[in-house]
Symmetry: D2
Subunit: 161 residues, 4 copies
């Protein structure tokens, strides 16, 4: 088994720019997070895009779908912004690929104190390893089906239903 | 579903004592790690013991087994030292409890730079949520059966077989 | 000797708000930074304001001046945003108080990976302890006089002259 | 002015070895700490030795003295283990070099959560910049003369007298 991990940006990968004082995208933190996790399962990393999920257009979601379609690996983790994670999950879910696709993200960037990113990445890697083919959302230590999840923005959590 | 998370000590929970310069056990880092992970699945935490797994006696393993037996929750994560994690997994595996038990640990303590602990905890929580009843070892982003795993101490990783 | 440390906000104290994805002000990190530094010199902490230094008005600088004037302690560290740190230093410098006042800040927030904040706080505490009365800017491991310093925004550093 | 920073080991620079579970010495963290601090004052770094200060022999202290003697820079920070920091300060102090020498260390290693190392390094750099020639100990946000300081091991702090 080989895991494919696809970065699309989102809070997980935001970093602080000292010159502008803004949170921006640079090199993805995911490869160093995986090295730190000492994972021995073979993996492929793909830095597909680096955008805030509020800025995602249909064309971006089609790019993500195309990346899943062309992936030789059948177990895929997608790191995505949480705000429109559900919308991307829907596009992927409706495509009914014969692959296990797990979307995850973070509420606090990997490089910021008390981030949930590393936990979520670990949780998502296990979900991609263990779940049946289909599209799943892994957040808050829960696995949700793509068509039965929503983000509660006031609480900052994902909920079923 | 409710997750039970049992701390037994091990590298995961070691912390630095400024007065002695030694790595020691104090309050477990696991509850704060779970809070940081923003998990919404209900969980119970049990600080069963806090010892180095090289110091574990049969009596300690029997205590861990008893904790699993009396657990009302059927999905259990045990945070354990890596050196004798396999031996404890064997005691639990032979007991054939009708529960999903996942043992994990860390190669670098949670409170030390570049620790794998948070990733492993996330991975193990997903494995405990998704695996069938039985005893599993979750390390290095892999799930191993209790009777088909060993620690390669030279490389610092777990391997199948 | 007692050190007075006055928080005014700035990059040093910005923290990430998971719900809005913005860097905002909450409780100052300075008291916990000082505890972590294990300092034994007596100190007083004053959370005077919590604003971005680009938002500082003359009235804010007058508040900071008033805080220095009423301070019983004659050795004062002010943690300030870097963008208008020089302007505040000028207001304080022209007042010619018989006190040692050291302004410092950070290019990366204390709570973000690879922050310079803790180093700067240590450097500024030493400068406040050792410098003669007057107003000084302590950044980039240098001590500048209030009337001979400017921020090079392109490079993100303070320079003399 | 150029700062010379000399590493000798000590708690400051200890790092965790995942294979042995011990705190050991590897590459010094000081150059990356200085880069992170965004310091613009010119500096020279010298990795003189990497030992626990409890293991320091007279010959080691003579090596440190020789390094100070041959240093072209007259402002020197020495990062040292805290347990015998005072003894080394005494050897240096009695040599009466016409240089400003500041010894510092850490109670918690740089790479461990809640370390005082970065604060101490900042404090010591300022002390080396600002103090008159002589040998000083900078710990706990205080500057002590070499012949008027001792470590209170029970409390884990340095005290005057």
């Amino acid at each position: 088994m080989i895991l494919r991990i696809i970065a699309t940006g989102g809070t997980f990968d935001k970093q602080y720019d000292p010159l502008t004082g803004q949170l921006v995208f640079g090199e993805s933190a995911i490869p160093s997070a995986l090295a730190r996790a000492r994972i021995t399962v073979p993996w492929q990393f793909e830095a597909l895009m680096a955008i805030d999920s509020l800025d995602m257009l249909d064309s971006h979601r089609q790019q993500i779908l195309a990346a899943c379609e062309r992936s030789a690996e059948t177990r895929i983790v997608i790191v995505h912004g949480t705000d429109t994670l559900r919308e991307t999950a829907e596009v992927l879910g409706q495509a009914q690929l014969p692959k296990t696709i797990v979307l995850t993200g973070a509420m606090v960037p990997y490089r910021i104190d008390q981030s949930d990113a590393l936990f979520n990445l670990g949780f998502a890697c296990a979900a991609a390893t263990l779940c049946a083919p289909g599209v799943h959302v892994a957040m808050n230590a829960q696995v949700f089906a793509w068509n039965a999840v929503r983000k509660n923005r006031g609480a900052g959590i994902f909920e079923g239903g």
